[in-house]
């Protein structure tokens, strides 16, 4: 279950540019990810791919294309591939004895190719002749293979009398051209299979998402997720796993009657854990504020209660009050005062956001007299203010959480965090249950048992979805 929401790259341990927490300025390019996938496969399968390509120069041999996820690109190979070719070509050279049946057939095909490609390869010839030091290229590797055949060719009397050097050069060119064609073909095939794979992944993703098993994405298919959103969701999933760990530690700590000092340590650790998510959201707001504001990073049930990109602090405090009996009068006052302040702050931010929205509406509605480009520019600058509001809202959430241990005992604070964690865990579970509920069937009285067992199954372990 843990793998469902982790993107392909992570699953295969690829070297993807990781969290933008570490790379503040740079943007994550989804194109880079695709390239990494291609190259990774290319590196892994270079040997096998190249072997096939080298042997396929001689058409009488069966064309053995392996369906590899990657193969070499037609441009510059690395020295790794160069050395690999060295070993391969030396092996194949031994196979081509002068009286091998291959050489005769090969020579006839050479002639077919010769006339067609003569002109094209004049230039290539020059390059080849003048640069013998290019050890890394595949073209030079083919030379030792070609030589025995060249000698064979000269011996046959039915051929034209051409200069040996020229013959060799021309043959080398043909080899090179053939190799290029074959490489290109291999590359195209690899692209095709990657495309198919991509479509399959998309379908899987779509299926999984419809079952509520995945973190949200922006509307539409996979291609519509911004890279910022992808990273945000990835980091968030990781945070959720950490959260589970912290919660079970807290639970154990509470039940095993730890000393207050130890418990306080745990509570502080948990607070830092929360600080982490707000830091993550701060970064995400820079890259894709809409992803946060629309709640696409959360589960559907949580999205329902979304306020400015996350939970509403006063609502959370209400929940806590109901769960925290018994409270001393002082504590009760403290908590109610916290709720009250939070409500005022929320109200102020909401009104500020409303004014921003109204201002944006006015700009976008515009008028005939307004220049389209200018209108867009103004709208863009107004949109930039959205990030500020999400950040203030997150700031409010963070401050509220930090205030809790100040007005409560350490045990109560620990209880608070457990209550919060469990609450959101249940909301996430609710989301996935809802998504996977049987449709088109009437929920009769016999049905509830089924639901109950499902709930029991879900309860102990938490799933991977959104929280703050």
């Amino acid at each position: 279950m843990a793998n469902h929401h982790i993107p392909y790259a992570l699953l295969h341990g690829m070297n993807v540019p990781t969290s933008f927490i570490n790379q503040e300025g740079s943007a994550f390019d989804f194109g880079e990810l695709e390239e990494a996938i291609v190259l990774q496969g290319a590196k892994a399968n270079l040997l096998t791919g190249r072997t096939a390509a080298t042997l396929e120069m001689f058409p009488s041999w069966p064309m053995r294309y392996q369906q590899t996820p990657g193969s070499s690109k037609s441009g510059g190979e690395s020295t790794d591939s160069g050395s690999a070719l060295n070993t391969i070509s030396s092996k194949t050279e031994n196979q081509f004895e002068p009286d091998s049946p291959i050489s005769k057939k090969a020579s006839s095909s050479y002639h077919q190719a010769f006339d067609q490609q003569n002109l094209q390869q004049q230039q290539q010839q020059q390059e080849m002749a003048s640069d013998p030091s290019r050890t890394g290229t595949s073209l030079n590797q083919s030379a030792p293979i070609v030589k025995p055949l060249q000698e064979k060719k000269r011996a046959s009397t039915s051929e034209k009398q051409l200069d040996a050097k020229t013959l060799r050069r021309l043959a080398q060119n043909r080899e090179a051209a053939k190799k290029s064609r074959l490489r290109k073909k291999a590359y195209v095939q690899q692209l095709e299979s990657s495309r198919i794979k991509l479509t399959q992944l998309e379908q899987e993703l779509q299926r999984a998402r419809s079952q509520g098993l995945l973190l949200g994405s922006s509307g539409g298919g996979v291609g519509n997720i911004s890279s910022g959103a992808v990273i945000c969701d990835m980091e968030y999933a990781r945070w959720l796993e950490d959260d589970e760990r912290h919660m079970s530690e807290l639970r154990t700590g509470l039940h095993s009657n730890l000393s207050d000092t130890d418990l306080r340590l745990m509570v502080n650790t948990y607070l830092s854990h929360y600080d982490e998510i707000f830091r993550l959201k701060g970064m995400a707001a820079k890259f894709d504020v809409f992803h946060l504001l629309t709640g696409m990073w959360t589960s559907p049930a949580e999205r329902c209660f979304l306020w400015m990109g996350g939970f509403r602090p006063s609502e959370l405090i209400k929940i806590l009050i109901s769960q925290l009996d018994p409270l001393t009068e002082q504590q009760l006052m403290g908590i109610c005062s916290l709720q009250h302040s939070s409500q005022q702050a929320e109200e102020a931010l909401s009104q500020g956001l409303e004014q921003l929205q109204q201002s944006l509406i006015d700009t976008v509605a515009g008028g005939p007299a307004i220049d389209g480009m200018q209108q867009m520019a103004i709208a863009l600058s107004k949109l930039a203010n959205l990030e500020g509001f999400v950040r203030q809202a997150d700031n409010l959430r963070q401050q509220t959480l930090h205030q809790l241990p100040r007005i409560l005992t350490v045990r109560q604070a620990a209880r608070c965090f457990l209550v919060i964690g469990e609450y959101y865990g249940r909301l996430r579970a609710l989301s996935s249950l809802w998504a996977s509920r049987p449709r088109g069937r009437l929920m009769s009285d016999e049905q509830p048992c089924q639901t109950t067992t499902e709930l029991q199954m879900v309860q102990p372990s938490q799933s991977h979805f959104s929280h703050f």
């Binding site: 916290l338 931010l349 009104q351 201002s359 203010n385 203030q392 700031n395 409010l396």
Partner: protein, 126 residues
């Protein structure tokens, strides 16, 4: 406009105020003349939120719209220097003391320090 009473506490025509040539001096002077002072920009929605916050608490803040003051730009720069790390409006003073930008105001409201400050400055009764 915003609060129950008249509009914003008072919009004082700044040209009538004394002309400290140093913008920082002006800022400090203006800040100390009222219990609650907000340096704002009229088009800024976060400033609107700050104003709403104080009004919602029953406080009448004095608002200076820096974009409507001929020397507003300098004052804005002076304020940024005062706060460090590119903080922007709204910037709040209570009882002549600098509170900070929006996030500090929010934080102090949540941790319970804002209300006592307001009471101390005479902006809030009970």
């Amino acid at each position: 406009m915003y609060c129950e009473g008249d509009s914003w506490g008072c919009y004082l025509p700044m040209s009538l105020r004394s002309m400290g040539s140093d913008p920082m001096e002006r800022v400090v002077k203006l800040a100390s003349e009222s219990a609650v002072v907000i340096f704002s920009v009229s088009s800024c929605c976060m400033c609107h939120a700050a104003k709403r916050l104080f009004c919602g608490m029953g406080v009448n803040p004095t608002v200076y719209e820096l974009d409507q003051d001929p020397r507003g730009k300098e004052m804005e720069m002076a304020l940024t220097t005062l706060l460090g790390n590119s903080q922007t409006v709204p910037i709040v003073f209570i009882g002549g003391k600098l509170i900070g930008a929006m996030d500090r105001v929010m934080a102090s409201h949540i941790n319970g320090s804002l209300v006592p400050l307001l009471k101390e400055a005479g902006a809030l009764w009970l």
